[in-house]
């Protein structure tokens, strides 16, 4: 058998079938690939062994008791699971995870300053580290490394970092407690969480670093942060949620990474792929949910006079030191 002749025959057949799309295909835009790659992110939360490990380290008794107390004090607008998430948020921020500006010296506990970046070692690569920050102690001169972990298991052990580590770990813990959760990516270098409330039938903003629950305007009006894209990634729901967080046009940055139709196509394709394993009734329920969310997001784009009035009580960013926040435009208006 002559494989070359066979493959030539195949090439001839495919050539006769090939017809080109006149417009530029979406694959030519790097942002299309970035979105597809980020859509893989929430799947690492679904490891059942990891979820079992999380359940073994969470103070479940305390969380459920706190949730019950919050439910008694509440006005009935939230469900029990929503209060579980609020209890988790409080515990996570105050007792579990630590914010790191510069890591304290591992030898003498003194202050350190950054000396540069380095490559991850093999173990760190395995734990999803892309970049290692290098620090030197101001007191004893000791050099140490601060790897930026992306793997959940490593984060559950290290329990420290900045918003990337915080949002990753907190979103995973919401999943471990059974809530539907999305990892929210913002193009201007911030990430946070959304959790679905069955009681209110909508996705609710949660920022673990700020201990903020259902305050989507905290970035635009509290921090004074200008943003372009906010995309939510979950295992059954991938959505452009920018309108929830960017309410006023003057607070938006240009959305020029690709045509809007390419972004919509990417999100649509991903949702179809992610939902292909579900039953028809589950898919229909998600489509109904999509409609509700679309109505909600479109409602935020009404004329300014009818939009939510400016809330002057929202705080500036809590986490991070002053120079860092000012450089990033997040120190308030």
């Amino acid at each position: 058998m002559d494989f070359h002749a066979i493959s030539q025959r195949f090439i001839d057949m495919m050539r006769s079938k090939n017809s080109q799309n006149a417009s530029q295909p979406p694959e030519t835009y790097p942002f299309y690939h970035e979105v597809r790659q980020m859509s893989q992110h929430p799947w690492m939360y679904e490891d059942p062994e990891l979820q079992d490990y999380a359940l073994s380290i969470l103070p479940l008794d305390k969380l459920f008791q706190d949730a019950s107390e919050l439910e008694k004090e509440g006005d009935g607008s939230w469900g029990y699971q929503d209060y579980v998430i609020q209890a988790l948020l409080k515990w996570f921020k105050r007792e579990f995870f630590v914010w790191v500006n510069q890591p304290p010296c591992e030898k003498c506990g003194g202050e350190t300053h950054m000396t540069g970046n380095g490559p991850p070692n093999e173990e760190e690569k395995w734990n999803g580290v892309r970049n290692v920050e290098l620090y030197q102690c101001n007191v004893c001169g000791h050099n140490q490394r601060f790897p930026r972990y992306n793997r959940i298991r490593a984060l559950l052990d290290s329990r420290k970092g900045r918003c990337g580590e915080w949002a990753n770990c907190f979103t995973f813990l919401c999943r471990a407690l059974g809530s539907r959760a999305r990892w929210i990516w913002n193009a201007e270098d911030h990430v946070w969480t959304e959790v679905y409330s069955n009681k209110q039938q909508r996705w609710v903003h949660v920022d673990s670093g700020e201990e903020s629950f259902d305050e989507p305007l905290i970035y635009e009006q509290g921090w004074g942060k200008k943003m372009s894209y906010c995309l939510g990634f979950g295992i059954d729901s991938v959505r452009d949620v920018s309108h929830r967080y960017i309410r006023h046009p003057e607070n938006g940055l240009p959305r020029d990474r690709c045509p809007e139709s390419v972004l919509q196509q990417a999100l649509h394709e991903i949702n179809i792929e992610f939902r292909s394993r579900l039953t028809d009734s589950e898919r229909k329920a998600l489509e109904e949910e999509d409609k509700r969310e679309k109505d909600e997001l479109d409602g935020y784009m009404r004329p300014v006079s009818q939009a939510t009035p400016t809330n002057t009580d929202l705080p500036a960013r809590q986490t991070g030191n002053v120079e860092w926040k000012e450089k990033r435009g997040e120190a308030g208006k």
Binding site: H33, M44, G128
Partner: protein, 354 residues
């Protein structure tokens, strides 16, 4: 032996009443919960007094009494005990599949770095390789079809074929694909191709091809080794590494092929082509692990007919072709019509006619 009624509080704010024997095991309780909450027992995690209940323990051990509440959390995957192997242990072996000495442009080098850190692609379970993991048996068609139905696998295949670097690696690993015209890459990037590749029906078509080639006196495995798409597609499901291992099998298979009656084989191939839309040629390209997908690639739907005369419809393309030296109007129009108005495709067509 008395029955107790328990309240099950699920994470979606639902509450269920379940009645079980007070000396039942936790597993029996999960079995009682399964039809009420519509969650398989393997996906249930029950929490009482701050502890996760173990299946083999009895309710009495945890001092669960009548009227008590238990929290229910639902996970996506199977219980680890139900799996034959530990997924974490198996994924540790991914780096050993990387061949030493590959260049800096090798996209496989990124598979163990951060770029793919979030992919968390499920590795094939031990059951897929049969009782002897040292000598893996190609997975059955249905197993592959089930794996391809997994949205994680589909999504990773889509991402892989959208990545030009990865396509370069796959194309260069196969002598046939390396010599193919550039439009093969464009075809691979099209959603129709990826959809066909992950379509379980394509796997069944390949199975039919398998049987027909056997009937024609050709041993498909000796000819194609793992390249038929078995090991290759399984490898794609496992971050695409197995697809390169398949190349070795295919080479050995081809080298060891017994002499075959050319006429009978050609007739069989021709027949398969007519019936399976080109699936038969997946064999020739299987050594890159792409056989099933290539063979099953469907033609995109014909675009809406444009009724304007060709010199008006293709004015811009015709001027470009003229500038490049293709001055025959009729042949240019035919080439543009065949390529759907794409100048690159038209040039390929004109060159192939020389």
């Amino acid at each position: 032996m008395t029955n107790i009624s328990l309240t099950i509080k699920a994470a979606n704010d639902q509450k269920y009443a379940v009645t079980v024997d007070s000396e039942s095991s936790v597993l029996a309780l999960k079995e009682a919960i399964a039809p009420v909450a519509d969650i398989e027992k393997e996906r249930q995690r029950l929490i009482y007094a701050g502890r996760v209940l173990k299946d083999e323990e009895s309710l009495k051990t945890y001092k669960i009494q009548d009227g008590h509440s238990i929290h229910l959390v639902k996970t996506l995957g199977q219980n680890p005990a139900a799996a034959a192997t530990n997924v974490s242990d198996r994924t540790q072996q991914v780096p050993t599949n990387i061949q030493a000495g590959q260049g800096a442009n090798n996209p496989l080098a990124n598979l163990t770095s951060a770029r793919y850190a979030g992919f968390n692609i499920p590795m094939p379970s031990a059951s897929m390789f049969g009782p002897n993991p040292e000598n893996p048996v190609p997975p059955s068609t249905e197993e592959l079809a089930n794996m391809l139905s997994n949205p994680m696998v589909q999504s990773s295949i889509n991402e892989m074929f959208s990545n030009p670097q990865m396509l370069d690696m796959i194309i260069n690993s196969s002598p046939h694909l390396r010599n193919a015209p550039p439009y093969v890459r464009q075809m691979m990037q099209s959603p129709e191709f990826r959809r066909a590749m992950t379509d379980p029906d394509t796997m069944r078509q390949m199975a039919q091809l398998h049987q027909q080639m056997g009937a024609a006196g050709i041993d498909p495995m000796s000819l194609m080794g793992g390249g038929l798409g078995g090991a290759g597609l399984g490898g794609l499901g496992g971050a695409g590494l197995g697809g390169f291992g398949g190349a070795n099998n295919a080479t050995a298979g081809i080298a060891g092929a017994a002499p075959v009656d050319q006429t009978a084989a050609a007739n069989t191939i021709q027949n398969l082509l007519n019936n399976l839309g080109g699936a038969g040629f997946g064999a020739g390209l299987g050594d890159a692990g792409l056989g099933a997908g290539l063979g099953g690639a469907a033609s995109p739907p014909a675009p809406a007919q444009d009724t304007r005369p060709p010199e008006e419809r293709y004015a811009e393309q015709l001027s470009q072709l003229n500038e490049m030296g293709f001055v025959d109007f009729e042949r240019n129009v035919q080439a543009l019509r065949r390529s759907g108005g794409n100048v690159q495709g038209a040039i390929e067509s004109l060159l192939s006619d020389l």
